[in-house]
């Protein structure tokens, strides 16, 4: 555990450190807004209609029907947070830190403050300015709330640098579902989002985390995510990005430390315009009998570039892991770069990968034209089919919701 002084020291040293991958961003070009810039709302229904519609596109439903609660951060301000479910606590991180003195030990524990300048700047804003934006979600021991908690990071102002630090804890034998949507107001010409998320899965717990991104064309995105999974815990991450973005680079890393722990990453990416999407998933299989599955589907349109990464590291015997990356390159000016990595440092483990990048099979297009679809309709149907993978291990309530979210994202493509 890092003391506040350690965090500060580390962050100070790393505040100009470039990220290991992805294009470098000049942070000084962005404005650091005050955490009180936007006023809080009494009800999530009170946000403007335009924002509501945008939220709905990323799965955040302001009617809060079939939701366990909602959290909304506008730029740097936490404008709404409310938990409907008795099983789950949800609040702004700052409030949570005041309420629970034990929460300190969960800060910067699975994401390091000196990872790069994005984590460092987030840590510095917390320590120096007292800007502790982001959410705290905790499912109580033994509870199973079927409805998801919804959280949204919204960028509403020009050239802001939004930072958020989220702590998600699933206590022993609990089940927690989170839908998180990130979006931008449609008049934003440039902005930077940095979201640090730390997940803690206690023994026997399960978290599903479904994230839909809908950024604007000039937004830079640098999420930094770490997950630690104890005995018999299961973490499922679903990620959907089908709209344009300037650049996104993220490499969430799960540590399967516990016995029988399991991590599943499923992602759907569609590159539009000149987006540069660099998204990977990394799992350390450190626990006895732990397992991981990383599945991604990517299609590149226009001049987009998609780097689809995956890294499995097995450090003890008897662990299992599989990486699967399928891509369709739909434009000559676009690129898909699949980087599957397997790292085995123990005997008797089982890890595999499967990567296939290609084009749409012409026979499939012709088959559909013979049923009356035009070539364009046929390829769009095939691409949507390719991307709409079945997301596994969700409760039925959420499976439907996730399917709806995927369909909606694909429709907007």
């Amino acid at each position: 555990m890092l003391s506040v002084r350690d965090v500060l020291q580390k962050a100070e040293k790393a505040k100009k450190r470039k990220a290991a991958i992805g294009s470098d961003i000049d942070i000084d070009e962005f404005i650091k807004e005050d955490k009180k810039e936007h006023e809080t709302v009494d009800s999530i229904q009170d946000v403007p209609k335009k924002v509501k519609d945008t939220l709905l596109k990323v799965g955040v439903d302001t009617s809060e029907e079939e939701r366990a609660g909602s959290f909304l951060q506008m730029d740097q301000s936490n404008i709404y947070s409310s938990s409907i479910s008795d099983s789950i606590e949800l609040m702004n991180l700052e409030i949570a830190l005041d309420k629970y003195n034990w929460l300190d030990q969960y800060m910067w524990n699975v994401v390091s403050p000196d990872g790069d300048k994005y984590t460092a700047q987030t840590a510095l804003r917390e320590q120096e300015e007292g800007t502790k934006s982001g959410y705290f979600i905790r499912s109580k021991p033994g509870t199973k709330e079927v409805f998801p908690m919804q959280a949204c990071m919204f960028i509403g102002d020009e050239t802001v640098m939004q930072t958020a630090h989220n702590i998600i804890i699933a206590e022993e034998n609990s089940e927690l579902h989170v839908i998180t949507g990130c979006a931008t107001g449609d008049d934003i010409a440039s902005a930077l989002h940095v979201g640090v998320s730390e997940f803690y899965l206690k023994p026997g717990s399960k978290i599903t985390f479904t994230m839909v991104h809908n950024w604007a064309e000039q937004v830079e995105v640098r999420p930094r995510t770490g997950i630690t999974i104890d005995d018999n815990g299961t973490f499922i991450n679903n990620y959907i990005l089908t709209s344009p973005v300037k650049t996104i680079q993220s490499y969430p890393t799960a540590y399967c430390s516990g016995k029988n722990s399991k991590a599943i990453f499923q992602s759907i990416q569609s590159g539009q315009k000149d987006s540069i999407i660099d998204v990977g998933s990394r799992v350390y299989l450190n626990g006895e009998n732990s397992a991981a599955e990383v599945i991604s589907r990517a299609v590149s349109h226009d001049e987009s570039k998609i780097y689809s990464r995956g890294h499995l590291a097995g450090t003890v015997p008897e662990v299992k892991g599989h990486l699967e990356c399928h891509g369709l390159v739909l434009s000559d000016d676009s690129l898909i770069y699949a980087v599957p990595e397997l790292e085995a440092s123990a005997a008797n483990l089982e890890m595999s990968h499967e990567a296939a990048v290609g084009k749409i099979d012409e026979d499939e297009i012709y088959y559909l034209t013979s049923r009356g679809l035009t070539e364009e309709e046929a390829s769009s149907m095939i691409v949507r089919g390719f991307l709409s993978m079945d997301i596994t291990e969700l409760p039925p309530e959420l499976a439907n919701e996730t399917k709806k979210m995927t369909d909606m994202s694909l429709e907007g493509m």
Partner: protein, 255 residues
């Protein structure tokens, strides 16, 4: 005339695969296309359908009096041409139900199929779960054929081509398929009242026990070697194989 093919020549990858094809099919008629493997039967189907790989280098195809030789597949299909494939490709993530909605002209956003399509699905032994499966992915031989016929029933074409609709299908299901093929060919109507027509490729001719044909054509080396009464021609082929047809190529009668 529903379909009128005159002097047709087709190339695939620069190689001539069909030549001097003349074929006319009237409203309400069912014709059978016979011939050894590689003689160009499926090629003729794909040429009528207008797949880009099949280049028409000579001749013309008229459908309902309109020259469709230069039209795209989609445009031809919109005018009433349909085909059941022998080995259709599997498409991941595209389920049979969604495809049926498009084919029957239904709004794809609607949750359920039309009651007509639901009934037809049941008739062809597809349950709700099966309809949710990705089209042709892991389908058995018989399931492929039944799904092809079901899709055609959704499309309701005026002219349907069937490529080996009975191959790999057990006897019980051949009768089931034949029943629906007969619907597509207006066989339930009196001969004079039939509007819809078809062209059938069959290897063994077994399906002809259940689907009546008005005329048969034998394709040899990309040419129609002979045309005539289906029973007589089949009888000859059963006795002498396609060799007899080569000799017969001299006495080609243009229908």
């Amino acid at each position: 005339m529903l379909l009128e093919i005159t002097d047709l020549a087709v190339e695939v990858n620069g190689r001539r695969v069909l030549k001097d094809i003349d074929l006319t099919i009237k409203e309400g008629e069912t014709h059978v296309l016979l011939g050894p493997n590689g003689s160009g039967k499926s090629t003729l189907f794909m040429s009528i359908l207008g797949f880009p790989k099949y280049k028409i280098v000579n001749g013309s195809i008229l459908f309902k009096g309109e020259d469709i030789t230069r039209l795209t597949t989609t445009e031809r299909v919109k005018r009433g041409i349909g085909v059941s494939f022998q080995n259709p490709p599997a498409i991941k993530g595209v389920n049979l139900k969604d495809l049926l909605k498009v084919e029957s002209g239904q709004d794809p956003k609607e949750e359920n199929l039309t009651s007509e399509m639901e009934e037809l699905s049941k008739k062809l032994k597809f349950n709700e779960d099966f309809l949710e499966r990705d089209v042709n992915l892991g389908f058995s031989g018989g399931e492929v054929k039944r799904s092809e016929i079901l899709q055609l029933l959704a499309q309701k074409p005026d002219f349907t081509m069937f490529d080996e609709p009975d191959s790999g299908v057990d006897i019980e299901n051949v009768e089931l398929l034949a029943e629906e093929i007969n619907v597509l060919l207006d066989k339930n109507k009196k001969p004079g009242q039939r509007q819809r027509s078809g062209l059938l490729i069959t290897h063994l001719g077994y399906i002809l026990n259940f689907v009546g044909a008005d005329m048969a054509h034998v394709l040899m080396d990309g040419k129609i070697a002979c045309s005539g009464n289906p029973d007589e021609i089949l009888e000859d082929i059963r006795k002498e194989g396609f060799k007899g047809c080569v000799e017969c190529a001299r006495c080609v009668t243009k229908s």
